[in-house]
Symmetry: C2
């Protein structure tokens, strides 16, 4: 266990942590005491029929959803819905390499087992059922790795998911993104300070985490976003100042093993493992009304890849988000972004299912 | 000086090396004995009015042009044109950090001065004039960093360049590509074996060169190319086998300082330094008939960026190459690639100027 103040309420607001018990993993390992961080908004109806699940992306937590996506005036309105955001395993808030202590001490740091998207979804389903008695979800929504979890929910538990909104992500990770994830992981593990995962502090790996951040600078935003100097709207006066003042501090605060846990999980995301590799068969299982929502300028989940999957989901619609920032437009900083998200999610939530 | 057998005729065929003497550099340094590697095809006409110049890209040399672009049946036909391909400074064949000996011993390895695209063009002009008496070029053509040199030629020596064909590159490097180049350089310099540029062998830096290669895997080919498993046409049976059997050996054979010399030069490419930062004024100087030839699936020199420059070059035409491989389609391995290049270059060479 490593003390890292980034993973706490100061940076992530209020949240709860609950255990769903022992979680046996797809890859063969076990998390003895699977603790999940989550937060809720609104009230669960007596019929338990107004629940919405938010899943989280690589390096992101429930907090970005609180900051940008949930609230009065948004489609995700707590006066209407009971909204639960569950932080993924490896997020640093839920059970993760850096915080594994107590019953989990044997899986701390480099001993943390490999976790798959499906493991998260199994744990999330247990939390929702055991803690809240929720058996059906009006909507599952998430971006990037959250989209992977959204697809996994819709394929694994079709009877439990009425609507699904995977944003800027895919059901089956692409070969390009497998290589991209490798490059991100290598930036971290190649740092001598990483010490095969047994560093004493994330500060020991600052060089590797900085290289990892800069690679996000290349792939996370579009070529056009850099040309338009998007960072001026965030009150930086050069791209170097943006990297130094935002992107690098954002990632260097995080735990290297936690990021690696998520990166491996992202890299291996694939709903087709439910159907012997047949992606069409897996996506064909989905009964949720699904809006597939790629970002037009996304450099690594391009609309082309998302559309190919949308065409395999019965009745799904393609709703492309226009966002020149590219993938990290998910942060919701551009004024034109959230209105599009709200419009699509609002229409999706209004559909009869 | 480091012995590196990659930089020789075994891998680059026949070529000559000639000195253009002392080269004082834009950034303030000096190359005491600026040796340029080059190769020629065809015969220079008595009037010296049939010369074509080929400039080279990052990590590439004249050899790829020999293999794919020049010959009977191509637009670059030696029976019609006297074609000179000059390897850029830092290419490993021309004067470069790893081969600096003799009069250049003081600039070996980490002492190599910073070189700009403009320095290459000044040296190339001298070589063509002093060795061949060439005062005008029917065409300057190059891809990627070769496109940078092509633009530099057309802006710096408008009276000497009748036609210009920048392929998959820009006149002013974009901010996105500045970050991309930083990421590539950091992959190399972060390797402890790099030893601040004073390694004893490129093999000492194999880990950094491998990471550098993998980053090219992410940016050099399109997302769709990976999905289409383009490597099957090159007789690999997995993407990992392609990386291990092609992309990594390609780059790990090279010299780290040489790559860094080129990367810095690419990063700082900008014809607008001739006009106080005014790109429109710089490109407005061009009198060459210019075909701007981006590759449609290029992830870092996208057609959008190339078109923006084309619109600033008087009379220029945009000729987009359809090539799903993306930027590294420049290698010319796809059957549909060279016919497009030949058609456009053939039409350009047929224009009256």
């Amino acid at each position: 266990m490593i003390e890292n103040p980034f993973y706490g309420p100061e940076f992530h607001g209020e949240y709860e942590v609950a255990s769903v018990g022992r979680l046996d993993l797809e890859e063969g390992g076990t998390i003895p005491d699977c603790r999940l961080a989550f937060t809720t908004w609104g009230e669960l109806s007596p019929e338990k029929d107004n629940a919405v699940l938010i899943t989280t992306w690589y390096s992101g937590t429930h907090q970005i959803w609180r900051d940008a996506y949930v609230g009065e005036g948004h489609a995700l309105d707590p006066s209407r819905w009971f909204i639960v955001a569950i932080d993924q395993i490896g997020s640093g808030l839920s059970v993760s390499p850096h915080n594994a202590d107590g019953d989990n001490a044997s899986i701390a740091m480099s001993n943390f087992p490999r976790v798959r998207i499906g493991d998260d979804v199994v744990a999330q389903e247990r939390l929702l059922r055991e803690r809240f008695g929720i058996e059906r979800l009006q909507l599952v929504v998430g971006g990037s790795m959250g989209a992977q979890q959204t697809y996994e929910w819709a394929v694994r538990f079709p009877e439990k998911v009425l609507r699904a909104a995977p944003i800027a992500g895919t059901a089956q990770n692409t070969p390009h993104d497998q290589i991209f994830a490798d490059v991100l992981m290598a930036a971290i593990t190649s740092d001598p300070g990483f010490a095969d995962g047994e560093y004493k502090s994330n500060a020991d790996v600052v060089a590797g985490l900085t290289r990892h951040a800069d690679i996000w600078g290349v792939m996370g935003f579009s070529t056009e976003a850099w040309k338009l100097e998007f960072w001026r709207a965030m009150e930086f006066d050069s791209k170097e100042a943006f990297l130094d003042g935002f992107l690098r501090p954002y990632f260097t605060a995080m735990d290297p093993n936690d990021l690696l846990c998520m990166a491996w999980k992202w890299q291996h995301g694939d709903v087709a493992r439910h159907t012997g590799g047949d992606l069409a068969a897996a996506l064909g299982r989905i009964t949720a009304k699904t809006y597939v929502m790629p970002i037009d300028e996304d450099m690594f989940f391009p609309p082309r890849d998302c559309r190919a999957e949308q065409e395999l989901v019965p009745g799904a619609e393609l709703r492309v988000i226009e966002e020149v920032l590219g993938h990290l437009g998910l942060f919701g900083v551009a004024p034109s972004y959230m209105p599009q998200i709200d419009r699509h999610l609002g229409e999706l939530l209004a559909t009869r299912v």
